[in-house]
């Protein structure tokens, strides 16, 4: 790699520098408390996955190119040149990180590893070494946004079947799944496919909500890829749709990162203030139940059931009580995992890992802790309000022969409604 290329890649660090990242670069003492916090380090024992080491790779580049100490006494501070070996390490450790921020919880200085991962991804993309599959998925989402008219008919076609199912479920031939409905109160953003549309439609139907379905999926592969421009473009499809339909709020389906991108990142990234609220469907369902808008009249589930706090829903977004409230309404034998809530272990599937086939074995291996946690509860059903978690839990269920059932909160609620 020539010097110019090295400087360009290292330069990303300078361009993306902000005060928070600079604190984190300066204050880590490499005490490695984070080693016991990361499921990937605990299950592999590979220092590459130790959170402080992930950050240290970036810190070495920073010292080499941007500090006096790196220039005057590089041996003391261990600055590193940007070379193929460093980029290899960076790729491996960065795209493997699920962004669960359990390390931040345990860090005595609250260092947030995801800030390092974000800048690492930007460096890799500049080096032409971003994750190819995530780039393809992000690209596909952007294309869909640019040429939505081409896809609209396909979506309407797809919804016809789902609508029929809905009508059967609720016993009302007029029940429908509205799209493109101007003046709706809420725009519901589901995932590609219908498994997150049908249960929501059942719930909205009973709650008599004035809703409309987004033509776009909530998932944001631009975020996982680490390309802010693409992440904004993908989120903006939904924002623009909400704006033109003049809705009062956007309700995101059970998808951890999608909610976080919309609620905590979009405004800062796009430098615009949103004229509507962002909510998660779990919050809304809990509200419907409390207000008596939906009646959960089916008998409570008797089988033991446990709840997996998705990192992006719990630790990183603060929804601990709403899911538990709903679960207790529909299940008779709810058992907590240990640890849970802000200390819960990551399932191993977040951060776009489930979409990266080269990490399949790795995420199965690093899901060991979650498997043990679930086994200890003796639960036969695992509920989790995050698509990434559920996909990972499905894989774990299969590979470890757990014989459990994995479900969403929406499905639990929709099944508990008798029409």
């Amino acid at each position: 790699m020539d010097e110019k290329a090295q400087k360009t890649i290292a330069g990303v660090l300078d361009k993306r520098m902000n005060r928070q990242l600079l604190y984190y670069l300066d204050i880590c003492t490499r005490c490695s408390i984070c080693k016991d916090a990361c499921h990937q380090y605990v299950t592999t024992g590979d220092v590459l996955y130790l959170p402080a080491y992930r950050a240290e790779i970036i810190r070495r580049v920073y010292k080499k190119y941007f500090t006096r100490s790196g220039k005057f006494y590089p041996a003391l501070s261990e600055g590193s040149e940007v070379d193929e070996k460093l980029l290899d390490e960076l790729y491996k450790t960065t795209y493997a990180c699920t962004g669960c921020r359990r390390c931040m919880y345990y860090c005595p200085f609250s260092i947030d590893t995801t800030w390092f991962m974000a800048v690492a991804k930007a460096m890799l993309i500049t080096a032409g070494r971003g994750s190819q599959i995530l780039a393809e998925l992000a690209g596909a989402a952007v294309i869909k946004g640019e040429s939505i008219d081409l896809f609209k008919d396909i979506i309407i076609e797809m919804l016809k079947d789902t609508e029929k199912e809905l009508q059967e479920r609720v016993g009302n031939p007029k029940a429908n799944i509205p799209i493109d409905k101007k003046g709706a109160d809420l725009l519901y953003v589901a995932l590609a496919g219908t498994h997150t549309i049908l249960p929501a439609a059942v719930i909205f139907h009973q709650a008599k909500a004035n809703w409309t379905l987004s033509m776009f999926e909530a998932a944001n592969y631009g975020y996982f890829l680490g390309d802010v421009k693409q992440a904004v473009a993908i989120a903006k499809r939904i924002i623009d749709e909400a704006r033109s339909l003049e809705v009062k709020e956007i309700v995101i389906t059970e998808c951890g990162h999608a909610y976080r991108v919309m609620q905590f990142l979009y405004e800062a990234w796009a430098k615009e203030k949103l004229p509507f609220k962002i909510r998660g469907i779990v919050e809304l369902m809990a509200e419907y139940i409390k207000q008596g808008k939906i009646n959960l009249t089916q008998d409570k589930i008797k089988e033991p059931l446990t709840y997996h706090d998705p990192c992006q829903v719990g630790r990183n977004a603060g929804f601990y009580e709403e899911p538990r409230y709903i679960i207790n309404q529909v299940a008779a034998d709810f058992r907590e995992m240990t640890p849970n809530r802000e200390k819960n272990w990551c399932c191993g599937g977040g951060g776009g890992l489930v979409a990266q086939p080269d990490l399949d074995d790795f995420r199965i291996k690093t899901g060991e802790i979650k498997v043990e946690q679930i086994k200890k509860t003796g639960a036969r059903i695992v509920v989790s309000p995050c698509e990434n978690c559920r996909l990972q839990l499905d894989s774990l269920n299969e590979k470890y022969n757990m014989g459990i059932q994995i479900t969403s909160i929406m499905d639990l609620v929709a099944n508990a409604i008798t029409i």
Partner: protein, 80 residues
């Protein structure tokens, strides 16, 4: 008609949820020669829009889409 297309690789994507149908097609596209065709059978309705947009991003082509009951059959041609 399907018989007109010479299929180089069959993919069974039934039961897979988004984004996995797209991921599997992407993973396997290099296993067929340029100009070759993958016949992928999916059940996730989301793939109806996803796989064509993936093809456009990557410069490949969905030459034909069929629906048989719950199954969606894509014929994806590798262009590069």
């Amino acid at each position: 008609m399907a018989e007109d297309l010479k299929v180089d690789l069959e993919l069974d994507l039934k039961g897979l949820l988004c984004p996995l149908p797209m991921v599997r097609v992407s993973q396997n596209i290099t296993k067929v020669p340029v100009g070759g065709i993958i016949r992928a059978v999916a059940t996730d309705l989301g793939s109806l829009a996803d796989i064509p947009s993936w093809a456009r991003t990557t410069g490949n082509e969905v030459v034909k889409t069929e629906r048989v009951d719950k199954e969606i059959i894509f014929y994806v041609k590798r262009l590069k």
